[in-house]
Amino acid sequence: MRLKSDLVQQQQLQKKPFVSYVLLISHVINRVFEWLQLLHMSVFSQSFSPCGRFLAAGNNYGEIAVFSLSAALSPDATAANQKPVLTFTAHEGPVFSLLSTDVHLLSAGNGEISAWSWNELTKKCLCVCRSSLEIPEINSMIINPRDNSLVVGGGDNNIHIMDLEHGVFKNVLQGHSDYIHCVSVRDREAEILSGGEDGAVRMWDSRSSQCVHCIEVYKYESCARPQFGKWISCLTTDSDWMLCGGGPSLSLWHLRSLSPTSIFPLSGCQRQAAFYQDKILAVGEGAFVSHCLLGGEVKAQIPCTPQSLNTLQLNTNSTEHRVLTVGGSSDHIDVFTNLSYRAFSLSF
C-alpha cells in the first residue's frame, strides 16, 4: 500500500518538475540558514545539574540545550553523544545567566526568570514557572545559601534579592550608577559583592542591606587599563580573597585590607574566573583558558575551540564527572577532563 502511494507521489512530482525544484531550493536555503545560525551562535552561560550528570547551556538565541555528561564521558561514546539530549527555547532574548538549585534550573532572560525542574528536563519534558520583573536585562544571578535567597543583578543598576521559598522579592540594593555585570556571595561574612559597568566593586551586607565598601578598581594605577575602560565583568570570591577583572587587568584582592595583592599580566579582558585548588582559571578574550598562580604569574594557556570565551564552569557536584567546561563565541562547548588539555567538544 505504502509503496504504491510513494510511486503515485513520485509520478506527480515528475509531472511538476518546477515544484520539486522549488522544494529542493528551499531545503538548501534552510540548511544554509541553520549553518549560519550555528556560525553566529554564542554560548553565554552554563550550569551543571545537581546530580552532576547533565550540563545546561544557554546561547544568544534564547535556547537552552541539555547535554548528558555521563553519556559523553562513557568509554563507548559516539559523536551523537556530543549533541544535546534536549534543546528548547527558553526566552526571546539571549540567556545570559543560568543557575542550578537542588531541584530547579533557573534561567534569566530579558526581564524574566524561569525555573525549570531538573527532573523533568532529564525526562525531556518541560515544566516551567516564570516570574516576570521590571529588570531590563539580567546579567548575573547567584544563590545566597545563608538565607536561601536569590541575588539578581540587572540592567537597572540595582541588585534584587528574592526569597526562594516564597518567590517574593525582599530587597533592593541601590548604589551602582551603571548596569551590573556580575554578582558574588561571600559566605563567611554574609556579604554580597557586585561589579558593574561603572567600574566599582561594591560590598553589601546581606542582613542590613547597606553598602559596606566600594572599591573603584580603575583608580588603582597598577590595575587600571584605560585603553579598555573601567568596567568590571568578572568577579569571584573565596571569602578572604577576591578576583576581579574586565577593563582593568585581572587582579587578586585581599578583602580584609582592601588592597590589590597580585595583578595578572593577561592581555584582553577577562569575562569569568574561578579559584580551583591552588590555581586560578580565567577565560576571556582569546582562544585559551589561562591558568595562573596566586602570586601573579601565568602558568599555562590551554587552547580551545571558540575564538573568545564567555563562561567557565567546574563540575563540583559529581566525583566521577569532574570536568571543566568552557563556552564562548562558537556553538562548541569544550570539555576538559584533565585541566591540561581539551578532551572533546559538545556542540549545539
Partner: protein
C-alpha cells in the same frame, strides 16, 4: 559388510581408523575419543595387542622357544605400557603443582593491585594537602608583598615620637610667649591707668584752682 568390518576391528585393535573408513560416525564422538586417547592412541592399541597376544600365547600350540620369545615380547610391551603410565602420572602431578603455583601468583598479584590502589588514594590525598599548603603559601607571599610596601613600624614610631617632642616644645614656647604677652598687657594696663588717674587728678586740681581763683576776685571785689 558389517561382519567384515567387525573382523577388521578384531584384527587391528584400534577401532577409530577402521570405523572411519567404513561407517559414518558423528564428528564429535571421534573428536572426543581422539581427545581422550590423544597421544595414547598407541597405548590403547598396545594394551589390546598385548591382550590378544596373551590369549594367543596361552592357546598357542607352537614350540617352547617361540612361546618364550613371545613371552619376552609381551613382558617388553607390558614394561612399555607401565612406563607410559608412569609418565602420564608425573605429567598430571606437574600440572597440579603448576596450577597451585599460578594460584599463588594470582593472589599475590591481586594483593599488589589492592595495595597499589590504596597507595594511589593516599597519594591523591597528599596531593590535595600539598596543593592547599601551596595555596596558603602563595597567599602569604601575596600579602607579604603588600605589607612590604608599607614602611617599617619602628621608623614610624620613631617619627611619631620626634613629632610629639617637637609639638611639646612648640606648645611650651607658645605658653611662654602667651605669658609674656599677658604680663606686658597688664603692665601697659597699669601704666595707662596710672596716667589716666594722674590726668584726672591734674584736671581736678585745675578745676579746684579755677574755683579758688574765681572765689578770690569775688572776695577782692567786695
Amino acid at each position: 559388510m558389517l561382519a567384515s568390518c567387525l573382523l577388521a576391528q578384531g584384527f587391528m585393535g584400534s577401532p577409530d581408523v577402521s570405523i572411519l573408513s567404513f561407517v559414518r560416525v558423528p564428528d564429535e564422538v571421534i573428536r572426543k575419543r581422539l581427545l581422550i586417547d590423544g597421544d595414547g592412541a598407541g597405548d590403547d592399541r598396545k594394551i589390546n595387542v598385548l591382550l590378544k597376544s596373551f590369549t594367543k600365547w596361552c592357546n598357542s600350540p607352537g614350540t617352547p622357544e617361540e612361546g618364550f620369545t613371545q613371552y619376552q615380547r609381551m613382558l617388553g610391551t607390558l614394561a612399555q605400557c607401565e612406563f607410559s603410565m608412569g609418565k602420564t602420572l608425573m605429567v598430571y602431578d606437574m600440572n597440579l603443582r603448576e596450577m597451585e603455583n599460578y594460584e599463588k601468583i594470582y593472589s599475590n598479584i591481586e594483593q599488589n593491585i589492592m595495595s597499589a590502589h590504596e597507595k594511589i588514594a593516599e597519594c591523591k590525598k597528599e596531593i590535595q594537602r600539598a596543593k592547599r599548603i601551596r595555596k596558603n603559601r602563595q597567599e602569604y607571599d601575596a600579602l607579604a608583598k603588600v605589607i612590604q610596601q608599607h614602611p617599617d613600624r619602628h621608623e614610624t614610631l620613631k617619627q611619631l615620637e620626634a613629632l610629639d617632642k617637637e609639638l611639646q616644645q612648640l606648645s611650651h614656647i607658645k605658653e611662654n610667649v602667651d605669658a609674656k604677652l599677658e604680663l606686658r598687657k597688664k603692665q601697659f594696663h597699669v601704666l595707662l591707668s596710672t596716667i589716666q588717674e594722674l590726668q584726672q587728678t591734674l584736671e581736678n586740681d585745675e578745676k579746684s584752682d579755677d574755683d579758688n581763683n574765681q572765689e578770690s576776685p569775688a572776695e577782692n571785689g567786695e
